[in-house]
């Protein structure tokens, strides 16, 4: 049985989620780089092109590119094709507002947790992650 390790973080968007970890090779622009109807990475220049992020706990430093990425992410959450959660090492405005709007409009949760650079490395190396938030605090159980 694999060992579970608990990592503490800061809640950017609340919620609870669990899924296999997807460590994006580099930051992704959701506008122009992600298909909200399928949940797949579509950016021609991105190393993870073709991979599905649907239901995954996406671990990456930040997003990239156009602020319209917030709409694309919120649309994916509405459609059920979005990641289960994000673990980031920066306070990313685009992803944060996209996930917040999905909560406000649809009551659908895609939590975002902020961790240190070192902890992000540990999450990216894990297979599975369980994310939970409690007020301003958050935990990630990785295994």
């Amino acid at each position: 049985m694999t060992e579970t390790i608990r990592i503490s973080g800061v809640m950017l968007v609340g919620g609870a989620a669990a899924g296999d970890v997807f460590a994006l090779a580099e930051p992704l622009s959701f506008w122009g780089g992600f298909d909200a109807t399928t949940g797949a990475v579509t950016d021609h220049r991105h190393p993870d092109r073709g991979a599905s992020l649907n239901g995954r706990v996406v671990a990456v430093a930040s997003a990239r590119g156009s602020s319209s990425g917030a709409s694309v992410l919120a649309e994916a959450i509405r459609l059920g094709t979005a990641p289960a959660a994000f673990v980031l090492s920066t306070r990313d405005a685009i992803l944060t507002v996209g996930c917040q709007v999905a909560v406000e409009l649809y009551g659908k949760f895609c939590p975002i947790v902020l961790v240190t650079d070192d902890d992000l490395v540990r999450v990216r190396a894990a297979k599975r992650a369980v994310v939970a938030t409690d007020g301003p605090d958050a935990t990630i159980d990785i295994s």
């Binding site: 602020s67 649309e75 409009l105």
Partner: protein, 412 residues
């Protein structure tokens, strides 16, 4: 850090300014918390990018605000939408995209937004003033407002822009604050291979976008003859190639009378000498088509063409009329001025199609926009291969006109 709320903020949250403002303020409070902003400040205007349709959520968000009887609390302009509402016959997308795209645009008008539908609001009567706090979306407009005007905005975008407009408040962080507006990267132009200020500006814009990313660059060595439209093109190229929200051009932009002013007297972290070869390479990266290739169209006006740009274009076109389809994107205010002085008729007679309210690079099925497209816009060059699946030849305004007359990519 705890978020400090002023009386107006708690009033907004409590619904004393309506349910839509309360909804928007709730979103802003959560957002400001997540960004670790200490509080909010008043804004005097907003510019909204959410009128572009990105799926059902675009419609749901704005129609929710309409259902709550929302009204914007500050003068608010609208960015380009998915449709040319004045020339809908140019649209070739699907029926649902057309209907929903137009609904999103109309719903913003219902909230009291001004039907400007332009990505260059800074060249209309809604231009902000130096030092004003604003909440703007649209990457090129953000750069222009911060850099060329000296107004203050962060990179707002979908949802947040409307939330700020509905409340008249913005999180007090980032580029709203003086300390965060200093240049940390200095780019010194030692030489340029171009004899026009247009290409030099776009080449350095694309370069700082690629190399500075989100950092603020001070550009030293641009010609004093660099125009407002050159700086607009520079910012648009920088914001497309990177996430640039502000730059300084020493001697040209208002917060950079000197290099020391631009850096606020603090030593920069990066100082980079830019050579003629660097600028030539930067511009070459914008083209995917080869010189001499057969041209299927020319598209100018990304961002929207200004009256001054039309004044440069008209005599050139009259001297050598295009034989390929020739599109110019602009806004309603400029179109009205062109119609009033007869220039719109002249352009039409010369074979020019004017597109308003939207932009050719968003209209994936505009007739003629396949194959090789030529443009003088760094932004169009950056996005068209992905958005339109087209090949791009980047050129100066003069090269675009000469190429349109020749039917192939011509270099001058």
């Amino acid at each position: 850090m705890t978020l400090a709320l002023a009386t107006i903020d708690t009033d907004l949250l409590a619904g004393r300014h309506g349910e839509a403002a309360a909804f928007a303020m709730r979103l802003l409070v959560k957002f400001a918390d997540a960004m670790a902003a200490p509080g909010f400040l008043d804004i005097v205007g907003a510019h909204i990018d959410g009128c572009l349709y990105h799926g059902q959520v675009s419609l749901d968000f704005v129609e929710h605000a309409v259902a709550l009887k929302g009204r914007v609390r500050v003068p608010t302009t609208l960015n380009v939408g998915s449709m040319d509402l004045i020339h809908p016959e140019l649209f070739r997308g699907g029926a649902k995209l057309g209907t929903d795209g137009a609904r999103v645009m109309r719903a913003h008008e219902d909230l009291g937004c001004i039907a400007s539908f332009t990505c260059a609001p800074y060249q209309t009567m809604f231009k902000p003033r130096f030092g004003e706090q604003i909440a703007w979306a649209e990457s090129n407009a953000i750069v222009f407002a911060n850099s060329v005007i000296g107004a203050r905005t962060n990179r707002y975008g979908d949802f947040l822009d409307l939330a700020c407009a509905l409340t008249g408040r913005a999180p007090a962080y980032g580029l709203h604050l003086t300390d965060n507006r200093r240049a940390t990267h200095v780019f010194r132009i030692t030489d340029t291979p171009f004899d026009d200020t247009e290409r030099t500006a776009i080449a350095i814009g694309a370069l700082i976008g690629a190399e500075a990313g989100t950092a603020i660059a001070a550009i030293d060595g641009l010609s004093p003859g660099t125009t407002e439209d050159d700086l607009k093109a520079l910012g648009a190229a920088a914001a497309s190639a990177g996430a640039v929200a502000m730059f300084h051009a020493v001697g040209l932009t208002p917060e950079a009378p000197t290099l020391t002013a631009a850096t606020q007297g603090i030593a920069p972290t990066v100082v980079r000498d830019v050579t003629a070869a660097d600028l030539r390479a930067s511009l070459a990266r914008l083209s995917t088509a080869t010189d001499g290739a057969t041209l299927s169209a020319v598209s100018l006006g990304t961002p929207h063409f200004s009256p001054a740009q039309f004044a440069l274009l008209l005599p050139r076109l009259a001297a050598s009329p295009p034989r390929t389809p020739f599109y110019v994107n602009t806004n309603r205010e400029t179109l009205a001025a062109l119609e009033a002085n007869g220039a719109a008729d002249t352009l039409k007679r010369l074979g020019v199609t004017l597109i308003v309210d939207t932009c050719a690079y968003l209209m994936t099925e505009v007739v003629g926009l396949q194959g090789v497209i030529m443009t003088n816009s760094g932004k169009m060059a950056w996005y068209a291969p992905g958005n339109l699946g087209a090949d791009i030849a980047f050129g100066s305004l003069a090269e675009c006109v000469a190429s349109a007359a020749a039917g192939k990519v011509v270099r001058l």
